[in-house]
Amino acid sequence: MKVVVAVKRVADANVKVRVKSDGTGVELGNVKMAINPFCEIAVEAAVRLKESGKASEVVAVSVGTDASQEQLRTALAMGADRAILVKGADTLEPLAVAKVLKAIVQREAADIVVLGKQSIDGDNNQTGQMLSALLDCAQGAFASSIEVGDGNVTVTREVDGGLETLQLTLPAVLTADLRLNEPRYASLPNIMKAKKKPLDVVAIEELGVDVSPRLTVLKVVEPAERQAGKRVSSVKELVEKLRNEAGVI
């Protein structure tokens, strides 16, 4: 059984990013980049499937510029067998990424696809779901536990109301949530080994996929500064302020 895991290069979770002064986006020049934390959890899940004998091969995929090779090497160091970089712009929308991944998943004839539930830059939480719709296959998003059976996978999902457990027939697309696992450290010997594992670069044009944007970013602004609260001494004063200052009654 083959597992494909998708990873994304994002700004490191610890860096405090700023909005560019022209409001077109976030300042990423010279900012530390890293593998998306949920993608890292997805890679760990895929590698554990291989270690438990359920999967025969783990293929890591990323869509972006050459710089994303760094994140693919991290995935290889964690235990993925092969990596594929689909070389294109690093600003693709979730739908475009889903279409690209569909082409790769079909090319690889994967049984399970694991992604992070969302990336910490866009926070869109769309790619995994869109991918499963495009592939017309089962979907288990926000997975906090994964059990592979014979031709199926049992997924426990973290949903608003609690936990939902589903059994899905393969092939299936799963997205990893925080509590799925604790990703392993990449050790030095594994990092060295990863340099020798195959990393193929595929030009995005080869896949014949329409990745033109459907959205235009109008502007990006920082969240408004938190205003200081006001203390009121009586209900009368509260009502007066709600009416005359806040204008809500």
């Binding site: 860096v15 002064s21 530390k32 890293a34 604790e182 450290y185 030095l188 010997p189």
Partner: protein, 551 residues
Amino acid sequence: MQRESMEFDVVVVGGGPAGLSAAIKLRQLAVQNGVELSVCVLEKGAEVGAHIMSGAIFEPRALDELFPDWAGMKAPLHTPVESDEIYYLNSARGAVRVPDLFVPATMHNQGNYIVSLGNLCRWLGEQAERLGVEVFPGFPAADVLYDEQGRVKGVVTADMGLDKQGKPKDGFVPGIELHAKQTLFAEGCRGHLGKSLIQRFNLDAEVDAQHYGLGIKEIWEVPEFQHRPGLVVHSTGWPLKEAKAQGGAFMYHLEDRQVVVGQVLDLNYANPYLSPFDEFQQLKHHPLFAEYLSGGKRISYGARAIAKGGLQSLPRMHFPGGLLIGCDAGTLNFAKIKGSHTAMKSGMLAAEVVFESLRDNPEPGLDLANYANQFRQSWLYEELYQQRNFGPAMHRFGNLVGAAYAWLDLNLFKGRLPWTLSDPAPDHDRLLPARQAARIEYPKPDGVLSFDKLSSVFLSNTNHEEDQPCHLTLLSSVVPLAVNLPIYAEPAQRYCPAGVYEVLQEKGAEPVLQINAQNCLHCKTCDIKDPSQNILWRPPEGGGGPSYTSM
């Protein structure tokens, strides 16, 4: 425990200017001479440049030698120095400009560039990888490895995945041994392995104690009309003179409306109530700085100790199996307040010596005494020799007379006065007991130009895995509260620029020392200035610490 091991010809500890230059030069020589040579660089930061912090005015002399075509290769030297101003601040509002004529020659910056050393190191890291150096960010070297004859045979990386009590967690990965024929130690100022090597091999037997300063720096983004790319301002006097401390401030205008502002405070200060952080925050209110920063936004903060003892404090740099290079040894030129080009040159010299030695005799563990000769014959030594009296003169004679001495020494006599001033007292011995010192009440930060410690640490993007052993080891758990607190009012609460050390006292209970190791900026000031020398800085789990952007 039996650990895995990896073999390299040369292991470099530290991905800063010295370490990267050494690694690059080694691979350049290997390629030129058609020789196999495996070189790796261990860096404790999450990426190369993450822990690098400096002003910085960069003299391209060493870079010219390492990469003559650095401009064509797009090295990040974008802002040449346009104007150079030095001021003496006589009060909170007054400033006197020092005419160029009276400025020591070493402080003229024509031909130099204002750079982000972090970005330059990133670029050097890329060049190193292109040349075949294995760069390993996120892997601190925890300890030195010795063979049966006591020669350095490499280092062992830190364990990953220990909990607060030091017990292995689920994902525990033991550190790996890296064996090398020669190990170059380039951890920067007060590197913990450098400290242990100096002790073990008695490398400082014939020199003065090393002297340190603490540099605190911020990057601001300012309105276009206040931005003057290429402007260099240095100042001394207020506020440090009020607390009878030495040091000076700097302000450099980079590209992209970014202004760097900072202060270096000499760690030989005597008043235990002094807070380097607060001294710096005050400085920004002086009109000289405020006029450029007003209306701007603070985008970065960081701190790092610097080794300023110069030649008189430079230890022997070679020992069996290894070399000490860059600020780990103490190659910074204090009269120029520049250490990057000197660190690079010391690394390049080391590479040449190591390469020659390994080519003729690939035996591990050799003591490369030839490094001392090559060092002596280089422009690096000449430069350090010329300015050798600047630091000690400032310590001995104070700011004004010391500066006058320096002007005479460097401008008139070009450093050739026939004596060498010495400065043997270590910085940590200089603190007065609290009862003999005047308390200092610092003004509250205004949140516009000056800020509190915690919101400052926030801007350094510092993070450490919470569940890990505390990396700030106390040799005795009793000393902070039994000695430092009653005698010196536990100065760690004030000299640490990250708020790591706090003495908390509940009503009616005994005081307790709380160590907020997660805030640590890896500046090494506590290891340097603790009057009891009770704090031992060790590297935390790999990848932790600041994540400086363009510092």
